[in-house]
């Protein structure tokens, strides 16, 4: 069908609250997943990754949860700060036969209200 442009899901949160950004991935055989953050005018920046043999991984203020049963990935940001305002992309690495093919989701725009 004809594309009419991406309509990014938008999440607005109050500064200090926790944020949860969700992502549905497409390939049940994907075994490596990455979250990226893209600030205005910049390239995507790696935040955290997780392999399919895990269901949770924690970083500094961020946690990624993986639910393979429903092909769902989430990014939790604790104590959200104004600097967290950005577009967040989940990405999946294809099955081992095409490990280089990273498929990016459409992104979610996070807006932090001071």
């Amino acid at each position: 069908g004809e594309s009419v442009g991406l309509h990014l899901p938008t999440l607005s949160v109050q500064e200090g609250d926790n944020s949860i950004i969700n992502c549905a991935y497409s390939n049940s055989a994907s075994d490596y997943f990455i979250w990226y953050k893209q600030e205005s005018g910049k390239g995507p920046q790696f935040i955290i990754d997780i392999r399919s043999n895990m269901d949770k991984r924690q970083g500094q203020r961020v946690t990624v949860l993986l639910n393979k049963t429903v092909k769902h990935l989430s990014l939790q940001i604790a104590a959200t700060q104004p600097g967290d305002s950005a577009v967040y992309f989940c990405a999946e690495n294809g099955p081992k036969t095409s490990y280089d093919k990273v498929i990016f989701g459409p992104g979610t725009s996070l807006s932090v209200i001071p």
């Binding site: 594309s3 442009g5 991406l6 490596y32 990455i34 990226y36 910049k42 390239g43 995507p44 920046q45 790696f46 990754d49 992309f89 690495n93 490990y99 280089d100 093919k101 990273v102 990016f104 459409p106 992104g107």
Partner: protein, 113 residues
């Protein structure tokens, strides 16, 4: 702090002109990717290289786009002739893989009039 660098950061050109974008991957990374980002299509993979060899360029319009890695420190993406629909931000990313955590450059914003 190792980073991917891209030049130019901005390019405005007229339809039909040749455009060359350059990327310096992070030293030691063996994989280089070229992406295009637009509001309509999001992030699209155009091509990628491993150890300077092209592995996949199926995302690239073959008749006008070409990507090369003359050496390990330089990747180029060329458009000839350019068209207004090529207007986008072009990102280079490098990684050490597979699998690839990709480190992106700042992008080249191309406007074709």
């Amino acid at each position: 702090d190792a980073r991917v660098t891209q030049t130019p950061r901005h390019k405005v050109t007229e339809m039909g002109q040749e455009v060359t974008m350059r990327c310096q991957p992070i030293l030691g990374h063996n994989t280089v990717f070229w992406y295009r980002q637009t509001m309509m299509q999001g992030l699209e993979l155009l091509a990628y290289f491993r150890n300077r060899a092209p592995l996949d360029d199926s995302g690239m319009p073959k008749d006008r786009f070409s990507a090369e890695m003359p050496d390990a420190t330089l990747a180029t993406l060329k458009i000839q002739p350019s068209e207004p629909r090529d207007s986008a931000v072009y990102f280079c990313a490098s990684g050490l893989g597979p699998p690839n955590t990709q480190y992106f450059g700042p992008g080249t914003r191309l406007t074709v009039l």
